[in-house]
Each structure stands twice: as C-alpha cells, then as structure tokens.
C-alpha cells in the first residue's frame, strides 16, 4: 500500500497510541529481539534449546494431550510411510485398510494439535529402521506393535486426565485404535485379534481385560523410534 510521508506523519501524530496498537508495536519489538537472540545463538554465547526441551510434554492435562499427540504423530508417520511405499506383496484390499488407518491417525494427530494450540510440542521425526517395511509380514508386525501400544497407552492414561471432556475424547479414539489393532492382528495371524499377549488369560483377576501401560512404559518404547529421549517425568501419574 502506498502512503506518502506527510499523510503518515499526520495520521500517527493525530491521535494517541491505542492499547491494541501499543501491544502490536511492543510485539514487533519482542520479535525483533528474538531475531537478535537467534543471531547471538550462533556465537555459542546463548545456550541453544535442546531437542529434548522442544519436546517437553508439560504438566497436567496439557502434558497428557501432548503425550497422545506424540503417539498419534508416531502412528500417522508410520502409516504415511507404508502407504507411500507399500510392500510389493501387500494386496490392494489391505492397502485400502492401511489408507483408512493412515487417515484416522492423521485426524487424531491434527485433533490433538488443535486442542493443544500453542502448547503443542513440535513435529517429531521418527526412525522406523527397527521394522522391516519392505514385506507385508514386516509391515503387519510393525502395525500390530504400534496399535497394541496405542490401546495400552490410552487405557493407562484415561484415569490421569483431570478434565472429563478429555477422558471422553480419549475414549472415543481408544476404541478406534482397538479396532485397528484387532484388524492388523487378524491379518498377520487369523483369530489373534485379542490374543493372550494383549488380553489377559492367565487365570488371574484381570482375565479378559486388555493391557494398560503407564506413560513411562509407553515412552520407553516410543523413544526407541526417536533420536532424542522424551521424558514422562512431568506427566501426572
């Protein structure tokens, strides 16, 4: 927009700076300062933010939402990778299931990102080299590991939420993860949808109940796919 200097000066001096304008100006100053600091960081004078700090989950419900966000990032990244380069021996019907599951996980991921707003952790980069993603069996094994982990994570996290709204939303997602888990299990080994390794059947008091894992147990697995270590220390327990 063109504006000559005379009219600009008149406009600026004609009225006092309003509160909103003031904050905008102050914000601009803060942004400039940040740029200055960013410049300083290259001199090794100012400590850089470590990747671990960028992925500090936070406390309370926010921490739990970030925990779920991280899990959904993991699952979405996995399915994205599979769907982008499916194994040659995976039939089209199964690829369609995987496309659906990818889409669900992306929806879950974006859901948590939206819910967290400015409190959201960054976008993690995952390393899936421990899986064999070039064969159908390898992909199904990996999917089973991640889906069972997701189910156990939601089952263990539900009681940690303070806000019933988030308990309810976690429940809406958890059963979809369980539907995924049962499907990929059955594809890998027929009738293994609720095998004893996930649904207890030992003659004990928790027979017939699915697994539940604490954030500490779940993050220990998630961290194996990351180049950094994300801590559960700040989360409710």
């Amino acid at each position: 927009m063109h504006m000559n200097s005379t009219s600009f000066t008149r406009l600026f001096s004609a009225r006092p700076v309003r509160r909103r304008t003031f904050f905008r100006v102050a914000g601009a100053t803060a942004a400039s300062s940040a740029l200055v600091f960013a410049g300083c960081a290259k001199d090794d004078e100012t400590p850089e933010v470590t990747p671990e700090q960028a992925f500090t989950l936070g406390t309370g419900d926010t921490g739990l939402l970030n925990y779920a966000y991280l899990l959904e990032q993991l699952e979405a990244a996995f399915y994205d990778k599979v769907v982008a380069a499916p194994p040659a021996d995976m039939p089209a019907t199964e690829l369609a299931y995987f496309t659906d599951m990818r889409d669900h996980e992306v929806i879950h991921r974006e859901f948590f990102k939206f819910a967290l707003g400015t409190s959201a952790i960054g976008t993690a980069t995952f390393n899936f080299s421990s899986f064999t993603l070039t064969t159908r069996a390898g992909v199904l094994t990996a999917a089973q590991t991640l889906e069972d982990l997701g189910v156990a994570a939601y089952n263990g996290a539900g009681k940690l939420f303070a806000d019933p709204v988030y308990l309810g939303l976690a429940g809406k997602i958890a059963s979809v993860e369980a539907r995924h888990a049962a499907l990929v299990r059955d594809l890998l080994l027929p009738n293994s949808f609720a095998a004893a390794e996930v649904v207890a059947n030992t003659g004990g008091e928790f027979d017939g109940l699915d697994a539940a894992k604490t954030p500490v147990q779940v993050l220990a697995v998630v961290n194996t796919f990351l180049n950094i270590t994300i801590s559960a220390a700040s989360l409710p327990s």
Binding site: H104, F111, V165, L167, I173, V199, G208, L209, D210
Partner: protein
Amino acid sequence: MNILKLLADLAEVDPTLYARLSSRRAVFAPLSQLGRTAALAALPLAVGTAIMPAQARDIRTILDSLNLALTLEYLESEFYARALGLVAGAPGVPTNFFPTGTRLAIETIYRHEQQHVRFLERIIVASGGTPPAKPRFDFTGSKNSTQPAVFADVFTNFDTFLQVAQTLEDAGVRAYKGQAGFLQTDNSLLEAALRIHSVEARHASHIRSMRRARGANVKNWVSASDTSVAVPGKTDAVYAGEELVNQFIAGLRQVPFDQAPLNTVVTVAKVAEAFDEPISATTAAALVGLFTY
C-alpha cells in the same frame, strides 16, 4: 453472568455435561450467526436442557454404572453361550451352524464375556453392592413369542447371528464409553472399565471381519459406507450419532475439521470413522430391553 465459568462449575458437579452439550451442537452451531441478544437468550435454554438430565442423574452412582455393565455382559455372554450350545434347556443350534474356521473366534469372545461377568460381579460385591439378577433373554426379540420376532433366525442363520453379534459389540463399546465419566472418581474402576471397553472394540472389529469375509459390505470401524445392520425402530440407536463429524474440546470449542486449514490436512469424509461415540445408560438399557422379557 459468566457462562463459561458456570459451565465449568456445572461440569465439576456433572462430568457428562460437556458431552451432552456437545450432542446439542445443533443448538450451539447457529449461535455464531445470531446477534448477541439472541445468543444470550438462546444459551440459557441450551444449558438448561443439558442440565436437567443431570439433576435426574444425581442419584446415579458408580454401582449403577457397574450394574449396567454387568447386565450388558450377561447379555453378550448368554448370546454366545447359546450359539455355542452351552445353555441347558435352550434350543440347540443346528449341526454345522458354525462354518469351518469360525467357531474358535466365537469361543474366544465368549470366554472374554464370561470373564467380564465374573470380574464385574466380584467388584460389585467388593464395592458393597449386590449384582443384579441375570435377565431372561430372547435373542429373536420376540419377548418369549409374545410379539413378532426381530431376528427370527438368529440361531439358525449364521449371517443373522453375526449381524446381531456386531450390533451387540458395537453397542457395548458405546455403552462403556458412556459410563467412563461416572467412574472418574475411582481410578482403578475407571481403568478396568477402559480395559474392558477396548476388548469389546477388538471383538466388534473381528466380528466385522467375519462378516466381510462372508460378503458383507462393512469396515472394521463404524463407517457411513457400511451397509447398515440397524433394524429401524428397534436397533437404530446402536448407530445413531456415530456419523458425528464435530468434536468439541474443553471450553466447548469445536474442532473445525471441515474448514481450512484442517480440511486441507485431514480426510474430512473419514472423521466420523476416527471417533467412536458414547451412548447414555438409558439408550444402552433400552437396547438390552430388546432382548429380554
């Protein structure tokens, strides 16, 4: 009047308030398009409607939720037991009712339902309650031949059996989900309920795979693309509301999946598949009632 503070306070008293308000999205959605006066006039009405059931449910206790869960498990357990020919006195299923390779999965599911029955009976007693009596069941829906059957061939036609199985499992998932909020004050009960809830979802997924293997058009998750198994006027409540695309986070903020920028990242048509919805205790009890007399 601070409406949000009021809602927060009410939600502390009644943990399901937000969920009920969310289900009244039709009331809330047009608010942004109304003038301020109209919005303020409409809001107390919407809130009032949501609160009323809360007052009726103030007497709802953890034991009520556990009793409902046990009744559902009695229903599922008895359903599979009859199909497997394990109920003395009940009409036997035909020879070869189970096609090759299908009986094992039903035995597994039956074992889980039995385990859930025993688990819930135990914790109801441990909580000082008395387990409800097991209802008398008629899975044809004829109420012991006093009215026309809804599923006349449930134990003679394997496909009908699987349709009813899917109906019961999907309903079970929704019913547990609806009770989670009432268990929030007891961490161990809540966790146990969630662990049963996901087992029911595994069952539902497997039954859906079995149906698809027999030619049914159905996914492992509840999808608008499924050919419906709901019987109008009878079991439609099992799937009513599952088409929900609007999800609400704390503070009644709607997640705008169908608007930019979210709709450029997500597949909006699959949002409903990605979230299973709860049903109320009343709806769950009414569904159980279809199969009891």
